[in-house]
């Protein structure tokens, strides 16, 4: 090697205005922000999943479908608007996702089978950082952009069986699915130089897989009370590199999650609901490099529902709720917490007897998330459409 002369100039990275894109920047922590696959009815009363009086299709909650006596399909969409701040920097957030898709079919009058697809982790986020480099004695601008696009979802098949008039059990099994593509791009300001400088790109893509299973129990000790519980088990979440990805494969030990919920009818048309869930993410953190988990993450919610009028083809309920959720992955070495106040209502398009055939449920949540220097205020609208019939 006859290397006689080099000129070496490192990029002097000066922090200049930068940008971010996401439904929440908390997606940047660990495996991302959890996507709770809850529909608008559950969100309206601050629930965590099990224990609602109404029959519904929820991914990972086979017991919730115990009263779906007609074939049903449902999906939810969820636009979010908000603003974030990191230190002195502020910006807006806006994005849309589709967290719940489900299909159920009754087998006789006491059994229902179902197929659901729901989100688990949202890993869509992007951030940019502007820099300035000195190359060959010239100032050359550069923009660094990191984009994470994708997420983890779960595909499940389930079955629920009413064993007695007041008790039923449900199970579901499934697999994690989904992909994430993480791309870093450094773009140079070609206006400052005579000849163009091509972008530098470093990219990796991973495919997710792993088994999961759920067991639910639904118990109506009285006609006006329902109690339900769900235990969700998960095998390792595997992330396998795809194609030319240089990055390594990873395995994450996913926690056992327990969810309980209860509803009580206080008077005709007026009910209360409460829910609680917990999962210990400590062992999941062992699969990470440079990311800490929050340990035991819990979620607590309460709410009321009041059917105060009839409108169109069915009742017009109003729901109010509150929920506080601990997120599993730390940001800025602090445990993120999401606090939400919600209001919800339903609009029944068609109903035969007491069986709703089609309708919209709405939930509008006003919330905030905080961890260290990062803070977000957001408004999250969930719209669930259900269609039933034979």
């Amino acid at each position: 090697m006859r290397l006689r002369r080099y000129t070496l100039v490192a990029l002097a990275l000066c922090t200049l205005p930068a940008g971010a894109l996401a439904q929440t920047l908390f997606n940047a922590g660990g495996l991302g922000a959890p996507i709770e696959p809850l529909n608008a009815r559950v969100r309206g009363v601050g629930g965590v999943g099990p224990g609602m009086f109404d029959a519904m299709l929820l991914p990972g909650e086979p017991g919730a479908a115990i009263d779906l006596v007609v074939p049903t399909i449902t999906f939810s969409m969820q636009p979010v608007w908000g603003a974030y701040s990191i230190g002195d920097s502020r910006g807006d957030l806006q994005a849309t996702r589709f967290p719940v898709v489900g299909l159920s079919y009754p087998l006789g009058i006491n059994s229902i089978v179902m197929l659901t697809f729901g989100g688990v982790f949202d890993q869509r986020w992007a951030v940019t950082q502007n820099s300035e480099a000195v190359i060959g004695g010239q100032n050359v601008g550069a923009e660094d952009r990191f984009v994470s696009d994708g997420g983890v979802s779960a595909l499940r098949v389930g079955w629920v069986q009413r064993l007695t008039a007041g008790f039923g059990v449900g199970i579901s099994v499934g697999t994690y699915t989904g992909q994430v593509t993480r791309t870093f791009t450094r773009t140079f300001d070609t206006l400052a130089v005579a000849n163009p400088i091509t972008d530098f790109t470093e990219q990796g893509r991973w495919q997710f897989s792993g088994p999961l299973a759920t067991v639910s129990g639904v118990w109506d000790p009285l006609d006006i009370v329902r109690v339900a519980a769900t235990v969700a088990w998960s095998g390792d979440l595997k992330a396998e590199p795809v194609g030319m990805t240089d990055g390594v494969a990873r395995k994450f030990d996913m926690p056992l999650e327990v969810r309980v919920g209860a509803s009580a009818l206080l008077s005709p048309g007026l009910s209360i609901h409460a829910g609680y869930s917990t999962a210990d993410w400590s062992s999941t953190g062992e699969g990470f490099e440079g990311v800490n988990t929050t340990g035991k993450a819990t979620s607590v919610g309460v709410g009321i529902e009041w059917e105060f009028a009839q409108f169109w083809a069915g009742p017009l309920p109003l729901r109010l709720g509150y929920r506080k959720t601990g997120l599993p992955f730390q940001l800025d070495d602090e445990d993120p917490v999401e606090t939400v106040f919600s209001v919800g209502w339903s609009f029944t398009l068609a109903q035969v007897g007491t069986i709703p055939l089609a309708g919209f449920d709405f939930a509008l949540e006003f919330g905030n998330r905080d961890a260290g220097a990062l803070s977000e205020d957001f408004r999250r609208l969930t719209v669930t459409f259900s269609l039933a019939g034979g």
Partner: protein
């Protein structure tokens, strides 16, 4: 029973109808909601969320580090292909040049009114004489003072494509020297003064016998040699034409002027540039090309400053190369052949080096119009560095294959966009000196992106 069945059917129909209506309403509402959703790109200061820290460095490789073979070859095109004329006498103390022109495309008949006012075709007209009209490119003229141009009829058969200062014909084994080098022993026709401050055109009168001789297309010795009489002068001209005055056989009181264009034109000059230049040579007439064969090292083991920053050995991969430039330093080679206008330099890969100088070439690395280099960089501002982009070539070289999965070429040709483009050529410093060619690389080094 029948009534019950009918009621059941009615209930089913109602369910289906309501469900259908509801589905349509739901789908419509969903579309409206979905149409209203869009992502927003916010701005903020550093979030500290970018999980990797790439480093961008500039590396300069010396000539010996990236070139394994180097050659300058000439002879592409001929003065006849330039489409311009050149005359010079002792320009910058050395250059003599003369232009040879052969006229053609004369009209064989003319339309003339007879005494009755009827237009008739006349092919037996008589040539009375003519004028050679020369239009100069006055911006390339030297000196500023008026100069005298001379015209002489050639008497030796000459070939437009192969004529040189010494040879009138040098083609297919036939080599015929001029009686005197420089198209000597021509018959003087006349002279005229060219003053570029007055006009860009010069007219030299020609007698009828010469004109008549020039209309004989079988005479390969026909033609005119244009020269300049003043020492130190150099002029290029854009066009030469011959105006012929003829008298019709029908109406003898009428004079008709015809124009004949130059059907063949070339120029001859001496001395020729040194065929073994000290550095790189690009362009000229006939054109020169510089050929380089590359072998960029796959890894770097120094210098210490580089290793301290990014670690060594440092692999140079296609993915890490953001920019590659060939940096050349302009030089002053042959004074008489310094370009007088902008040189459009092109760089192309040599696809089959074994076939040089006839090898097919790849696509341009610098764009279809070439990279413009100002003429003063080869005269009063020599020593200036000029950078030529070759990012994709070096990326392919390091990858071993092109973007089209073909073996990557390793050899380049530095040339002008058109050959020939100018009489003068571009000169750059060669290997071994302080201005030797350099390969400049901008590299970005990063760890691979990982899942958290």
């Amino acid at each position: 029973m029948a009534k019950k069945h009918k009621r059941s059917r009615s209930l089913e129909d109602e369910i289906v109808r309501k469900a259908t209506n509801a589905a349509l309403a739901g789908a419509g509402a969903g579309l409206v909601l979905f149409a209203g959703c869009q992502d927003l790109v916010p701005t903020a200061t550093d979030t500290g969320l970018i999980p990797i820290n790439p480093i961008t460095v500039e590396v300069l490789l010396d000539f010996e580090e990236f070139v394994t073979d180097f050659d300058v070859i000439g002879g592409f095109g001929s003065p006849a292909d330039l489409g311009r004329g050149l005359v010079a006498r002792g320009y910058r103390g050395t250059l003599d040049a003369r232009t040879l022109v052969r006229f053609g495309n004369f009209q064989r008949s003319i339309s003339v009114e007879d005494s009755l006012g009827v237009t008739r075709l006349d092919s037996t007209f008589t040539a009375l004489g003519g004028q050679i009209v020369i239009v100069f490119d006055s911006t390339d003229a030297a000196p500023d003072l008026p100069v005298t141009l001379t015209a002489a009829a050639t008497n030796t058969p000459w070939d437009r494509e192969t004529a040189t200062w010494d040879l009138a014909v040098d083609s297919f084994g036939v080599s015929t020297p001029w009686p005197i080098p420089g198209a000597g022993l021509s018959t003087p026709l006349g002279s005229a003064l060219f003053d570029r401050s007055v006009s860009d055109t010069v007219v030299i009168a020609v007698d009828s016998a010469t004109v008549a001789a020039w209309t004989d297309s079988t005479n390969l010795a026909r033609g005119v040699m244009i020269d300049v009489a003043d020492t130190g002068a150099r002029l290029e001209f854009r066009s030469v034409s011959l105006n012929i005055d003829v008298r019709p056989s029908i109406n003898l009181d009428t004079i008709v002027s015809l124009t004949g264009g130059a059907s063949e034109r070339t120029f001859i000059f001496q001395p020729s540039p040194d065929p073994d230049p000290p550095g790189l040579r690009v362009g000229g007439t006939p054109a020169w090309r510089t050929i380089m064969t590359f072998a960029v090292p796959e890894t770097l083991t120094g210098p210490p400053a580089l290793c301290a920053l990014v670690g060594c050995p440092l692999a140079i991969t296609a993915e890490r190369i953001n920019q590659a430039e060939l940096v050349l330093t302009t030089s002053f080679d042959e004074p008489a052949f310094v370009p007088l206008s902008t040189v459009l330099v092109d760089i192309r890969s040599v696809l089959v080096p074994e076939l040089l100088p006839k090898s097919p070439l790849g696509e341009s690395m610098v764009g279809a119009l070439g990279q413009a280099v100002a003429p003063e960089l080869f005269d009063t501002e020599t020593g200036t560095t000029v950078s030529f982009p070759m990012t994709f070539f070096i990326q392919d070289l390091m990858r071993g294959v092109t973007r089209f999965d073909e073996p990557a070429p390793t050899t380049i040709s530095i040339m002008t966009t058109f050959e020939p483009l100018l009489v003068g050529f571009a000169s750059f410093e060669g290997p071994g000196g302080p201005g030797a060619p350099i390969l400049r690389l901008i590299l970005t080094i990063s760890e691979s992106v990982q899942i958290p």
